[in-house]
């Protein structure tokens, strides 16, 4: 088992997302993150999905996704050929004696302040998934009150060979 990111271009139609996700569900694979949003083309969405499964299963599922009528293209985003990004909102307890440290940590990590409360601060960080992981780890000792991550989105790097359709 290993983690993989799939990028799927699909028609923006009712049920299209369910048709993709059920291929994972029936095999018992848990989807770690799934993001759907608009693309440069009207009525076409991009779905970026992170899943933990074997290489052979992934190949199977890619082929099954490719057969779906609403799906235009499916490719794996491999780290060496892709840019990936995600956003997190993290609310952390901020007693007066910890506040200065927290703000310094946020500055050093490139996070911004989304909300500043009396007892807590909500930070927003946008970046590569491992940068978000690092910031989360940095804040954890202060007491995470709530955390929301968007899950990663990604694109193939320009000129990357993987940009072409993996299924012909």
């Amino acid at each position: 088992m290993s983690e993989h990111t799939l990028s799927v271009r699909l028609e923006n139609k009712a049920g299209a997302l369910a048709r993709v996700s059920q291929l994972f569900a029936r095999r018992g694979y848990n989807i770690q993150s799934l993001v759907v949003g608009p693309t440069e083309r009207e009525n076409i969405s991009r779905l970026t999905l992170r899943v933990d499964c074997s290489e052979h299963s992934l190949e199977q599922i890619e082929k099954q996704i490719h057969k779906l009528v609403n799906v235009l293209r499916v490719t794996e985003l491999r780290p060496e050929n892709a840019v990936e990004s995600e956003l997190a909102l993290i609310t952390v307890a901020s007693p007066p004696d910890a506040r200065a440290e927290l703000l310094a940590a946020a500055r050093a990590s490139g996070a911004s302040i989304a909300d500043f409360g009396q007892d807590a601060i909500t930070f927003q960080i946008v970046g590569r998934p491992h940068d978000v992981d690092a910031f989360e780890d940095l804040l954890r000792p202060y007491g995470l009150l709530e955390l929301a991550r968007t899950g990663r989105i990604g694109l193939h790097r320009p000129h990357s060979n993987d940009r072409k359709d993996s299924n012909g």
């Binding site: 059920q22 029936r26 199977q60 082929k63 057969k67």
Partner: protein, 571 residues
């Protein structure tokens, strides 16, 4: 462009698609469409007694004709009753368009009377589905539905139409093409892969063709025959493929797998080159996968890329339509020379001679295999016979003993293993091919799941012959209980007491026969075949007969066992 109601648009679409017969049952949410049927259409509607029956009839129609089958049902229970045929069509790649009524748009999602999420329930078992709430979408959706069902790897689609969309008016114009940017089944094969396959065939010492139902669906039967003849390639043919290569062809070694012959299993498992053609390495064929054809390189021809490499790695994958693929392969082999594997063919002949399908004829009891053999002999030489079966022992005996020399003459439920498939599938086949003699070899358990469709056969004047291989048990399950569950026969005894199948047949207006001895078997079956109306033969057979050969679950296919008394003879 014509102004019409959505319901009429559905019928006009079916007419444009060349649908001759549709099968279904009306109900609340599909009433407007049945009203359109009443207003007039060239499509014949066959009224089933249960939506499952309608669905299997549409499957039988599709498998007998090569056309798309159409089933129509109402919302809620109508749709859920279609789920089994849809699943069956999904597993066996049968082209099927199911049209279901749905509650009015405003009621969708409210748990309205007879509301069920039909597209949601069927999502994992359809190629695609549509929920239509706007009548204007009907022409393009139905065009797309038929296109998706019949192109690429064939299979079922569902069109769920809200009642108010059936009642609304639209400007009808049937499109010439469907607009499906994401639907791109392969149209060609890679020539280099075909040539690599040809080279592998020339180099092989022990090649075997492993042909499946995809050959029939891909309309590639004559191309397969040409390949087998030109390269003198021996072949095994799966349950779903039966008939794609004539059973009486000397290079056809019949069915491999759990109840296939010893020689077919050995041919497949001791080969050095497996040429899979429209087959999918089903577990019932491979047995223990790690021990399957251990010395073989695999060439896999399939129109569905997702099947290639799914179960068994293919050294030479060839994705694309089988008809041109096999034609090019034959040409490529011819261009390279003449394959020479005569010692292998002699070996296969030796195995076939030593381990034929065989059984012990009992004293005073009717053996189920004798029923199948007698039907085969009574119809020998006829080219108008179509067989259907249920699922279980009788199905396996039909596979073993019937001789099918033409494609689409053996119609069965393979992947899903749907008991009750046989009777409605036979009715559908008869509707597709009124000239054919359609014989359903059924089990007593199977017959009781869909036997009510005898009413359909009688009233719709679709005469079929049903031969119930009645062993008084859920025979295949009983066999497993005997062999693997310490002879604890839990809940498998159906008995010879009820029902009286002959009387039941008479009650439905059909001819009923009962036979329990070998002496009267031939005359009874002959009378049923000549009845001129739907006939049911209750053939009361030896309840204890087991189906052999058998690859025990989890065993290697090469370890296929014959019946214990036969194994003793061979030892």
């Amino acid at each position: 462009m014509t102004r019409m109601l959505g319901s009429d648009a559905i019928l006009r679409a079916l007419e444009h698609e060349g649908v001759r017969v549709a099968f279904g049952i009306p109900g609340g949410a599909i009433l407007p469409t049945y009203d359109a049927i009443a207003r007039g259409t060239s499509v014949r509607h066959v009224l089933a007694r249960h939506e499952q029956g309608a669905g299997h009839m549409a499957q039988g129609y599709a498998r007998a004709s090569g056309e798309v089958g159409v089933a129509i049902a109402t919302s809620g229970p109508g749709a859920t009753n279609l789920v089994t045929p849809i699943a069956d069509a999904w597993m066996d790649s049968t082209p099927l368009v199911c049209i279901t009524g749905q509650v009015r748009g405003g009621l969708i999602g409210t748990d309205a009377f007879q509301e069920i999420d039909a597209t949601g329930i069927t999502m994992p078992i359809v190629k695609h589905s549509w929920l239509v709430q706007d009548a204007e979408e009907l022409p393009s959706v139905l065009k797309a539905a038929f296109h998706v069902a019949r192109t690429g790897r064939q299979g079922p689609v569902l069109v769920d139409v809200a009642k108010d969309a059936q009642e609304a008016e639209l400007d009808f114009e049937y499109p010439d093409d469907s607009d499906l940017p994401g639907w791109k089944p392969p149209r060609t094969v890679d020539e280099r892969q075909v040539h690599e396959a040809a080279r592998a065939i020339l180099a092989a010492k022990r090649p075997i063709v492993y042909a499946g139902g995809g050959v029939v669906n891909g309309d590639a039967c004559s191309e397969l025959l040409a390949l087998v003849d030109a390269a003198r390639l021996p072949a095994v043919v799966t349950l779903m493929g039966k008939g794609c290569l004539p059973d009486s062809h000397p290079l056809n070694y019949g069915a491999p797998g759990m109840h296939g012959s010893k020689y077919a299993n050995w041919a497949l498992n001791k080969a050095d080159l497996v040429i899979a053609v429209g087959s999918r390495f089903d577990d019932r064929v491979t047995g223990k996968l790690s021990a399957f054809a251990p010395g073989a390189k695999v060439i896999h021809f399939d129109v569905d890329a997702a099947e290639v490499g799914k179960i068994r790695h293919a050294e030479i994958p060839v994705v694309g339509p089988l008809k041109p693929a096999l034609a090019r392969l034959t040409a490529a082999v011819h261009g390279l020379g003449t394959p020479d594997h005569e010692p292998w063919l002699r070996q296969l002949e030796d195995w076939r001679a030593r381990f034929p399908y065989r059984y012990s004829r009992g004293e005073g009891v009717l053996k189920p295999q004798t029923v199948v053999e007698t039907l085969r002999d009574l119809t020998a030489g006829r080219d108008d016979v179509i067989w259907t079966t249920g699922v279980g022992q009788h199905q396996m005996w039909a596979m073993q003993y019937l001789v099918c020399d033409r494609p689409r003459s053996f119609i069965t439920s393979g992947g899903l293993g749907t008991m009750g498939y046989g009777v409605p599938a036979a009715i559908g086949a008869k509707a597709a091919r009124p000239d054919a003699t359609v014989v359903c070899i059924d089990g007593d358990g199977c017959f009781q799941m869909t036997g009510q469709e005898l009413a359909t056969a009688a009233l719709e004047r679709l005469p079929i012959v049903v031969v119930i291989v009645n062993n008084a048990w859920l025979g295949m399950v009983r066999q497993w209980q005997e062999l693997f569950y310490g002879e604890r026969f839990a809940q498998t005894h159906l008995t010879h007491q009820v029902p009286d199948y002959a009387q039941l047949a008479e009650a439905y207006g059909c001819a009923g026969f009962t036979v329990g001895s070998e002496g009267e078997l031939e005359s009874t079956l002959a009378a049923a075949l000549a009845a001129g109306r739907t006939a049911v033969v209750d053939a009361r057979c030896d309840p204890s007969e087991n189906c052999y050969p058998m690859v025990p679950a989890g065993a290697a296919a090469v370890d296929v066992r014959e019946a214990p008394e036969q194994e003793a003879l061979s030892a």
